[in-house]
């Protein structure tokens, strides 16, 4: 190949500081990273390392102090608040720590809600929800409220919600935090399969080394400094 394909996600010199002067805290210190289309990478780091800050800036939730984030043709760091809201609805799928589903909507309605945010025609949205819930093994749970679902099922609904609007990037924040090991594994496995089969790009924040095996590459962040590692340092012990 003579022509190199540009990575879909390009993070350059991304920096976030809080406070000023000698009380200034550097949360993320000049992070550079690129992720190719179809890649599923892990972002490892202990609590307070800056991983949440980094993923928030990539997802358009937090404005960096300096540096840039590009996703495909979109310059995330150049967008207004309003544009960012639209960007998150259309181009990013989020899976939160605790599924954070709307408690008074059924599994099916939770997915339809995010479709309504981007104005998907009802018929298309319904067809897509049915397909997604089927794939996620939730077809018979579609009409259940979150409180009637197990933790794993809730997280699977959250994965469906993240994929609903066919985003370019899926950001996953500690998806196993509220789950036991077996359930956590099955959720991450499913996540990997869904992201890979759709050719999406995924970043999973985790502190759980056992989940690393499902990812293509690993980034580690420590005290705000991001490094790309072949093997996570903690695994060497």
């Amino acid at each position: 190949m003579t022509e190199s394909v540009e990575p879909i996600l390009r993070v350059q010199g991304l920096r976030k500081t809080y406070g000023e002067g000698h009380t200034q805290v550097v949360a993320v210190d000049g992070a550079d990273m690129t992720v190719d289309e179809g890649e599923f990478v892990a972002l490892l780091g202990p609590s307070g390392s800056g991983k949440t800050t980094l993923i928030s800036m990539i997802g358009g939730l937090l404005a960096p102090t300096s540096g840039t984030v590009g996703l495909g043709a979109t310059e995330v760091t150049a967008m207004s608040r309003k544009e960012l809201t639209r960007f998150r609805a259309t181009q990013v799928g989020f899976v939160f720590q605790s599924a954070n589903l709307v408690p008074f909507l059924t599994a099916r309605e939770n997915l339809l809600y995010v479709a309504s945010l981007v104005g998907t025609p009802k018929k298309d949205a319904h067809a897509r929800v049915d397909q997604l819930l089927e794939e996620l093994g939730l077809a018979d749970r579609a009409g259940n409220l979150p409180e009637q679902l197990s933790g794993g099922e809730r997280q699977r609904v959250a994965i469906g919600r993240a994929l609903m609007n066919d985003p370019d990037l899926v950001l996953v924040d500690e998806p196993t935090a509220a789950l036991d090991t077996a359930m956590g594994r099955s959720v991450v496995e499913l996540l990997q399969r869904e992201i890979k089969s759709r050719g999406k790009t995924g970043i999973m924040v985790t502190h759980d080394l056992r989940m690393v095996e499902y990812t293509d590459r690993v980034f580690e962040i420590l005290d705000g400094v991001l490094t790309h590692v072949e093997r996570p340092s903690a695994l060497e012990h």
Binding site: G59, R86, N100, L105, A177, H207
Partner: protein, 367 residues
Amino acid sequence: MLALREIQRGGGRFAAVVGALALIVFLVLVLGALADGLFYGATGAVRSTTATAYLTSTDAAGSLVRSRVDEADVAQAAAVPGVTSAGSVGVLLTGGTGPEGAIDLAVFGIEPGAAGSPTTLVDGRLPAPGEAGVAAVDTRLEEKGIEIGSTISVGDVTATVVGLVADASYQLQPTAWTTVATWRQMRDAVRPELRGQPTVVNAIAVTTEGAPPVAALEAAVPGTTVLTAEQTALAIPGVEQQRSTLNAIIYTTLAVAALVVALFFALLVLEKRELFAALKALGASTGRLGRGVIVQAAVASALGIVAGAILARLFGLAIPAQVPVLFRTETLVTIAVFTLVAGVIGALFSLRRIAKIDPATAIGGVL
């Protein structure tokens, strides 16, 4: 979808705010009915007539009962351009006797057919011009056993009832409409000190085309003040005060409704901060979430209005007929609109809280 599903499945919490609003609406509707009842009961006799304005003596401050004018001045008022009719009006607040005993009465002496005649005849007829010893009476007297053909008396003067008029009370007393001559006999019978004033009446009623020519009328009949029929109604002692007091209570209560809604949704938004942060992260705008809260406030207000209106109606059926309450559709609609607006205004206070929720807090957090 979000907003309505939450009400549908949210259960008790919305029932609480709907219940609170229903009680507020009930209270306001009953107060409104009382205000209307008092106003209509006090002012019917000057609103439900052909008169568009009344001339009263300037020292009476618009009060028909206090005013004294001379019958001879009617012709001068009638001659003013724009006046199509003028007539004497005599008023006597008194007690009388009906077939079942004592009755309260406001006797109005009028010139039948001229300005000041009642327009709300529901049965029978009015006295004919110059006809003595007959009266058309307020339908409210029906509960005192009075019907067409009955005899009522004031002092030693009797009158046969020939007609019934509706919405024609004066200062909450049922009216009897007679000719000026019969009225004067009754006045002289119960107010001996006024005997020997054969040409004195209380006011001159005029019917005009368009707005009454106030200045021309006051110039034509010196010593009088001209008030429109509506102003005359408000000048009846106590009417304006009752109305403004009850309205102040009604508007204060509606402000409480806005406050209740504001507090309810402030708490609800506080409770849903985490959820709203997640939804914002997923791309829901502040505007969309805010609209949802406003829709919820509008729906809760609407349910409260319906429940409150039903309660008020049941209350209206349960209270004794003597209580001057009047449930008018216009008042219901006005109060419903005000309640809805109050609810929406209350919900608007939550918008700032929603705007301040940072979507970035959806990530991280627990660990």
